[in-house]
C-alpha cells in the first residue's frame, strides 16, 4: 500500500484514489450531510473501509462515511514528520552509571499524536526530555535490544537479555534497569533470576500501566523509582519495580521469582505472592522490608546461564480436562509440562493414563497450584499420592509461571531428569521458600467494616 493512502483499504481507498486526495492533505469534502474541511489522517488498519478520518482545525478528529461523499478536493498538502525532541543527557562524575535496556512495551512508547499509533521513544535524550529528574539520580545509558510487546517476549529474548546483563556487569555498571511490557514481566523476571545468578548489582525490571502520553501516566514515576533502585539500592537481585498503591506515592521492589501481575489494568498490579516485597522505593531512596536479600558487591562477577528448552508447556487444569491434552503435548515432542492443578495440586482421574504415558516417554511433569498462594501438598489426598506414584513431582510453592520458566531453563541444561529434578527443587533465589509468612497472603475483602475503615485512612 502506498504511503499516500496510509492505512486505507478497500472502498475507502478507492474513494481517495477516485478524487485524487492523499493522506495529510488539507481537504474539502462534500457530503449529503454537508461540507467538512480538515486534514485527511491515516486510518488505523484495524478499522473498517467505510470511513475517512479527518482532523478539524479545532484539533478534533471525526470520521466521514464514504457513502455520503459526493465530492472531494485537495486544497493543500503538508506532510507531517514527527519526532520527539532530544536533549542531551547530562553526565556527572559522582553519579552512579545505570544502563537501561529496552525491550519494548508501554513504558518505552508514546503516542504519535497525528495517527494515534504508539511509537517507541527510548533514547536517553528522549527520556531526559520527558523525565528530566532521571539526571538527578544517575548517568543513564540506553540500549534497545528489541522492540516487542510483552506477549512476544520469549526464550530467545531471555537469553539475549541475560548475556547483555552479564556484559554490563563485567564492564562495571552500577545498576541495570530493563524496560519491559507488563503482561509477561513476571515470566522474564523469573527467567532472568535463573539465568543471571547472584549479580553484584541491582537488576530492576520496570514497566508502566498507563502510557507516557497521558498526564496521569505511571511511567515517569516508575522510571524514577527504578533508576533510584538501580543506582542506589543495596539489594543486588533481579527485581520488578512497580507502583505499590494506585496513588502516586511509592513503588515496591518485588523479588523476580515471587512476583505476579494480578490485575489487568491497575497501576498497582504487581504483587509479591507468598512473601512480602523486598523493599519500598520513593524518590528519596530504597527502604528494605526484608533483611535476607543479596547485598550489592563491588566485584564484576557475572554468573550467566543462558539456557532454555522451548518445548515446555504450562497446562492450566480444569474439571473435565481430557487426557488428549497431555497426549498431544507428548506426541508433539514436549519435554516438560508444568501443571497448575486445583487445590493442593490435583487433576482428575481420566488424565492419569496420559500422565503415566508421558512419564514413560521421559517427559518431566511438575505440579504447581492455581490458587497461586500456598504449597503443593500431594500427601493429603489420595489423588495427590496417586499422581506422585505416576511420576508427577510437586514443585513446592513455586508460582506456575516461574515453574514453567525454570523447567525450560533446567531442560535447556540437561536431559537427565534426575538432574532436572535437583535443579527444579533447589531454590536459586526464593522461587521456593521454606516457610510462608502469615503476611505473605493478604487479599483484603472490600465491604468489611474494618477493611473499609483501613482503606479510608490509607491511600489506595
Amino acid at each position: 500500500m502506498s504511503d499516500a493512502f496510509k492505512g486505507y483499504r478497500g472502498k475507502a481507498l478507492s474513494v481517495l484514489k477516485e478524487f485524487g486526495v492523499r493522506v495529510w492533505s488539507d481537504a474539502s469534502i462534500q457530503t449529503t450531510r454537508g461540507e467538512f474541511k480538515g486534514i485527511i489522517l491515516p486510518r488505523s488498519e484495524n478499522d473498517d473501509d467505510q470511513h475517512l478520518v479527518l482532523k478539524l482545525n479545532t484539533g478534533y478528529n471525526i470520521g466521514i462515511d464514504i457513502k455520503t461523499i459526493t465530492g472531494m478536493k485537495e486544497v493543500n498538502y503538508r506532510e507531517a514528520h514527527y519526532k520527539i525532541p532530544e536533549k542531551e543527557f547530562p553526565f556527572s562524575e559522582e553519579k552512579p552509571n545505570v544502563k537501561l535496556f529496552g525491550t519494548g512495551g508501554t513504558i518505552e512508547s508514546r503516542l504519535d499524536y497525528r495517527t494515534g499509533a504508539v511509537i517507541p521513544a527510548f533514547s536517553p535524550g528522549e527520556l531526559y526530555g520527558a523525565v528530566p529528574e532521571l539526571a538527578d539520580i544517575c548517568n543513564l545509558k540506553t540500549e534497545k535490544l528489541f522492540a516487542v510487546f510483552s506477549e512476544n517476549m520469549g526464550p530467545q529474548q531471555y537469553i539475549t537479555l541475560a548475556k547483555a546483563i552479564g556484559e554490563e556487569i563485567k564492564n562495571g555498571i552500577h545498576g541495570i534497569v530493563i524496560g519491559h511490557g507488563t503482561d509477561t514481566m513476571h515470566h522474564t523476571a523469573g527467567a532472568l533470576a535463573f539465568m543471571v545468578q547472584n549479580p553484584p548489582v541491582p537488576v530492576v525490571m520496570v514497566g508502566s500501566q498507563r502510557s507516557s502520553d497521558r498526564p496521569s501516566s505511571d511511567a515517569a514515576l516508575n522510571l524514577i523509582h527504578a533508576a533510584t533502585a538501580a543506582a542506589t539500592s543495596d539489594i543486588a537481585e533481579v527485581m520488578v519495580c512497580m507502583f505499590g498503591p494506585t496513588s502516586d506515592e511509592y513503588g515496591l521492589l518485588h523479588r523476580g521469582t515471587r512476583v505476579r501481575k494480578m490485575h489487568s489494568s491497575y497501576r498497582s498490579t504487581f504483587r509479591t505472592i507468598g512473601d512480602i516485597p523486598l523493599a519500598t522505593v520513593t524518590c528519596e531512596g530504597v527502604k528494605p522490608l526484608k533483611e535476607d536479600y543479596n547485598k550489592r558487591r563491588h566485584d564484576r562477577k557475572a554468573n550467566v546461564f543462558p539456557f532454555f528448552e522451548e518445548r515446555v508447556s504450562l497446562v492450566y487444569y480444569y474439571p473435565n480436562m481430557h487426557p488428549d491434552i497431555i497426549d498431544a503435548l507428548v506426541d508433539n515432542g514436549y519435554k516438560g509440562i508444568v501443571i497448575a492443578g486445583t487445590g493442593l495440586g490435583h487433576v482428575n482421574k481420566p488424565v492419569y493414563p496420559a500422565i503415566e504415558r508421558a512419564v514413560r516417554k521421559g517427559v518431566a511433569i511438575y505440579m504447581t497450584v492455581q490458587t497461586l498462594w500456598g504449597y503443593v501438598h500431594m500427601f493429603v489426598y489420595d489423588t495427590g499420592r496417586d499422581l506422585m506414584d505416576k511420576g508427577v513431582i510437586p514443585a513446592e510453592n513455586m508460582l506456575p509461571e516461574v515453574a514453567y520458566v525454570k523447567l525450560g531453563w533446567a531442560l535447556g541444561q540437561t536431559d537427565d531428569l534426575d538432574c532436572v529434578k535437583e535443579i527444579m527443587l533447589t531454590p536459586v533465589n526464593g522461587e521456593i521458600t521454606e516457610r510462608e509468612p502469615y503476611n505473605g497472603y493478604l487479599v483484603y475483602q472490600g465491604g468489611i467494616p474494618e477493611i473499609e475503615e483501613f482503606l479510608k485512612r490509607v491511600h489506595k
Partner: protein, 656 residues
C-alpha cells in the same frame, strides 16, 4: 523617597480613561466601539442512567467530606505533537499540586480513577446528544472519534477528558439573524472541586464521567445581552428534548470574550445565564484597560525582552515599623520578598474591573501558580495598613528603585519563592503584549479572577483506547423520530403569546406548545393558556403525577366551559380535581368541585348582606380587609359565573 500617586484617585482617573460605564448606562454603541465579541460554550449534562464510559450510576452526588477512600495523583505535562509543552500544562506543572480524589464506592469505579481503560460509549447518551445536534441543525459526523483533551488541573484523573464531535456548523436564530454553532460534542463531566489550599487540591469523583454535551457558538454575539439570550435559547433547546439533566450544576457555561485588539479570554464555570451580561461587560473593559496599560508601558520601556525586575529578601531589621501583621505572617515561617518593577509606577493601581486594579492580576497568578495563600502581596500603590510611606521609602532604597518604578512585597513559604518571582516577571512582561490569553473564574459580583493560562490546540490528541463509532443514516433517522419538531418556530410563537420565560423549559420539554395553541385557537387567552400549561399543570404533575390523557381532557374541559358560557379562569380551579380524581367527565368535575351556574346579578346582590355581616363582627374596619373577606365568601359562587377581576372591581368601586 519617590512620590507615590494617590492610588484611589489613580483608580478613578484610569477608569475614566478606559471609558468604563456601568452596564445600565451602556448603549449598543458602547459595545460596537469596543469591538465586543462573545461566544458561548454551553455544557449540559445528559439524562442517562449511567456514566459515559463506565457503568457507574450517573447523577448520584456525595456530600463534601463523605468518601470511602482517597487516591493521590500528580499530573505531568506531556509533550505535544509539535514537541512543545502546552502553556497550560507547564503552568499546572509549576504549581506542583498534590491531587487528592475522594471516592465513594457507589459512584466511582476503577475507570473513574484511571485504573481501567474505557468501556464502550453509552449509546443512550450518544442518541441523546444526537437529538440536540439535530435540533441545532449541525452536520452529523460519519464516525465518532473519541479525542483526548488535556486537563492538568487534576479535574479528571486521567489528565484528559474524553470528548467526541457529534456535529459541526449548525445555527440558531437570534434577534432576527442567525448565530453559527461551531460544534457540538459529547464528553465526560469532570470532578467536583472540594478545596484548593496551598499545594493540595481535593476533588470528589461523583460527577466525573456523567455524559454531557458541549455546544460551542461562533464568537458572533455582539453584546452582553445577546450572549445571555443565546444562552437561554440553547438551554431551552436542549431541555426541549426532555433528555437532559436539570438542577444545580447540570448546566454550566464558559463564555469567551474579546474586544478589538484584545485576546480571547475564557470565563469558566458561569453557573447562571443571568450572570453573563455583567461578566462579559466587565471583561470587555478589563481588556480595554490592559490595552491602555500596554500602550503606556511600551512608551516608557521599548521592549519586554530587556525589561527585568530586581528583588531582595526583606529582613525585618531593614524596616522600622514591624507591625503585628508582619509578625504574624513571619510566625508562620513565611519569608518576605520585595520586588522592583521598573516603569510600572501608576500601573499597579490602574483600573481593571470594578473594585480591582492591575495588582490583582499579579496576586491572582501568585495564588494559582505559586500556590501562595491569600493575602500574599501588597505593593507601593496600595493602601496598606502595616507598611507605611517610610517603609516603602526604605524598600525603594534597598531595591535602588527609580521614580516611575513600582514595588511589590509578597510573602509565602521559601520553596514557592522562585515560582512566585517567575510568575510576577512573566505577568509583567505580558503587560507589554496587552491581553494575555487566560481562563478566568467567574465571581457572583460580575468580576473574574485568573484561573489558568488559556490552553492551545496542542492539547488535543486521539484516544487510542476507543474504536471509532459509525453514525449511520439509520441511526440518524431513528433519533430524528425521538425529537420534538420545529423547536424554533414554537419558541417564537410562545414569545409572541407573551408566555413568561420561566414557563418555557417545562413547556418545551413536554412538547406542550401544541396544546397551548389548541387552547388559544379555541379562544383562551395566551396568558391563561401559558399559565395553565406552563405553571399549574407543572405544579400538580409534580404533586400527583400526570394523569393519562390529560391533554385531550383539558381540551374537552375547555369546550365544556365554552358550551356553558363559563368564565375561562374556572379551568384553573377545576384543574386540581382532574389530578386528584383522574378519569372523570368534565361535568362530573364541575359538580364535584361544588361549582354552580348562577346569574351575575344574583351573586352581586349578596354583597350588601356580607358587608353588613362583616361590620357587625367588628373585627376590622379597613375597607381592604372587608373586601378581601367578601371576595372569599363570594368566590365559590362567582367562580365561572363572573370574572374574578370584575367582582373585585365591583367590590372596590362600590361605596361603603
Amino acid at each position: 523617597m519617590t512620590k507615590q500617586p494617590d492610588p484611589d484617585r489613580r483608580f478613578v482617573e484610569t477608569r475614566k480613561q478606559t471609558g468604563y460605564v456601568s452596564r445600565s448606562k451602556a448603549q449598543p454603541e458602547t459595545y460596537r466601539a469596543l469591538g465586543f465579541r462573545c461566544g458561548l460554550e454551553i455544557h449540559q449534562q445528559l439524562l442517562t442512567e449511567k456514566k459515559l464510559f463506565c457503568r457507574c450510576p450517573a447523577g448520584q452526588y456525595q456530600q463534601d467530606g463523605e468518601y470511602d477512600a482517597e487516591i493521590i495523583r500528580h499530573m505531568r505535562p506531556t509533550l505535544s505533537e509539535m514537541g512543545e509543552y502546552d502553556g497550560t500544562a507547564l503552568m499546572e506543572f509549576k504549581t506542583r499540586k498534590r491531587i487528592v480524589y475522594h471516592i465513594k464506592n457507589e459512584t466511582a469505579c476503577t475507570y473513574d480513577i484511571d485504573d481501567t481503560p474505557p468501556f464502550p460509549i453509552n449509546r443512550q447518551a450518544l442518541e441523546r446528544a444526537m437529538e440536540v445536534a439535530l435540533l441545532l441543525k449541525t452536520k452529523i459526523v460519519g464516525e465518532l472519534h473519541v479525542t483526548r483533551k488535556q486537563y492538568l488541573d487534576g479535574s479528571i484523573p486521567t489528565g484528559f477528558q474524553r470528548t467526541a464531535i457529534v456535529g459541526i456548523d449548525g445555527e440558531i436564530p437570534l434577534a432576527g439573524r442567525t448565530v453559527s454553532i461551531r460544534q457540538i460534542s459529547i464528553e465526560e463531566d469532570s470532578c467536583r472541586e472540594v478545596s484548593d489550599v496551598g499545594h493540595d487540591r481535593i476533588y470528589t469523583t461523583d460527577r466525573l464521567g456523567i455524559p454531557l454535551i458541549e455546544t460551542v457558538t461562533a464568537p458572533e454575539l455582539l453584546s452582553p445581552d445577546q450572549a445571555e439570550e443565546a444562552g437561554h435559547y440553547l438551554r431551552f433547546l436542549a431541555r426541549s428534548t426532555g433528555h437532559v439533566r436539570v438542577g444545580i450544576g447540570a448546566a454550566r457555561q464558559d463564555v469567551n470574550v474579546s474586544i478589538e485588539g484584545g485576546t480571547r479570554v475564557e470565563i469558566k464555570g458561569v453557573a447562571h445565564l443571568r450572570w453573563i451580561p455583567e461578566l462579559t461587560h466587565n471583561e470587555a473593559f478589563r481588556q480595554k484597560a490592559l490595552l491602555l496599560i500596554r500602550d503606556r508601558i511600551r512608551k516608557r520601556h521599548k521592549d519586554s525582552e530587556t525589561w527585568t525586575m530586581t528583588c531582595t529578601d526583606l529582613d525585618s531589621n531593614q524596616l522600622k515599623n514591624r507591625s503585628d501583621t508582619w509578625k504574624s505572617i513571619q510566625s508562620e515561617g513565611f519569608c518576605f520578598t520585595a520586588v522592583n518593577l521598573p516603569s510600572f509606577g501608576g500601573i499597579l493601581s490602574h483600573f481593571m474591573q470594578p473594585g480591582k486594579n492591575f495588582s490583582d492580576e499579579l496576586s491572582g497568578r501568585l495564588k494559582v501558580i505559586a500556590c501562595l495563600q491569600d493575602p500574599c502581596m501588597t505593593h507601593s500603590e496600595a493602601v496598606c495598613s502595616w507598611l507605611n510611606a517610610e517603609d516603602w521609602a526604605s524598600i525603594q532604597k534597598i531595591l535602588h528603585a527609580a521614580s516611575g518604578d513600582a514595588q511589590v512585597v509578597f510573602w509565602g513559604p521559601l520553596e514557592d519563592r522562585k515560582t512566585a518571582l517567575e510568575t510576577l516577571e512573566e505577568r509583567c512582561r505580558l503587560a507589554f503584549e496587552g491581553v494575555p490569553g487566560e481562563t478566568r473564574k467567574s465571581l457572583p459580583n460580575g468580576t473574574t479572577v485568573f484561573e489558568r493560562v488559556l490552553p492551545g490546540p496542542d492539547r488535543m490528541y486521539p484516544d487510542t483506547d476507543t474504536a471509532p463509532i459509525p453514525i449511520t443514516e439509520v441511526l440518524i433517522e431513528k433519533v430524528e423520530k425521538q425529537i420534538p419538531e420545529d423547536f424554533s418556530g414554537r419558541l417564537k410563537q410562545l414569545e409572541v403569546w407573551g408566555v413568561p420565560r420561566h414557563f418555557l423549559p417545562y413547556i418545551l420539554r413536554g412538547n406542550l406548545s401544541a396544546l397551548i395553541e389548541q387552547l388559544v385557537n379555541r379562544g383562551m387567552s395566551p396568558g391563561l393558556a401559558g399559565r395553565l400549561v406552563g405553571q399549574d399543570c407543572r405544579h400538580l404533575e409534580r404533586k400527583y403525577g400526570k394523569p393519562d390523557g390529560l391533554h385531550e381532557f383539558l381540551i374537552q374541559l375547555f369546550q365544556f366551559i365554552l358550551d356553558r358560557n363559563l368564565t375561562h379562569e374556572i379551568i384553573l380551579e377545576m384543574l386540581p380535581w382532574i389530578f386528584r380524581h383522574p378519569g372523570k367527565e368534565a361535568a362530573e368535575v364541575y359538580a364535584a368541585g361544588g361549582f354552580h351556574e348562577q346569574h351575575r346579578e344574583e351573586i352581586l346582590a349578596q354583597i350588601p348582606r356580607f358587608r353588613l355581616a362583616f361590620e357587625e363582627s367588628g373585627i376590622n374596619h379597613e375597607p381592604a380587609a372587608r373586601n378581601r373577606w367578601i371576595m372569599g365568601q363570594l368566590r365559590p359562587l362567582a367562580m365561572g359565573n363572573i370574572p374574578m377581576r370584575e367582582l373585585r372591581q365591583t367590590l372596590e368601586g362600590s361605596r361603603t
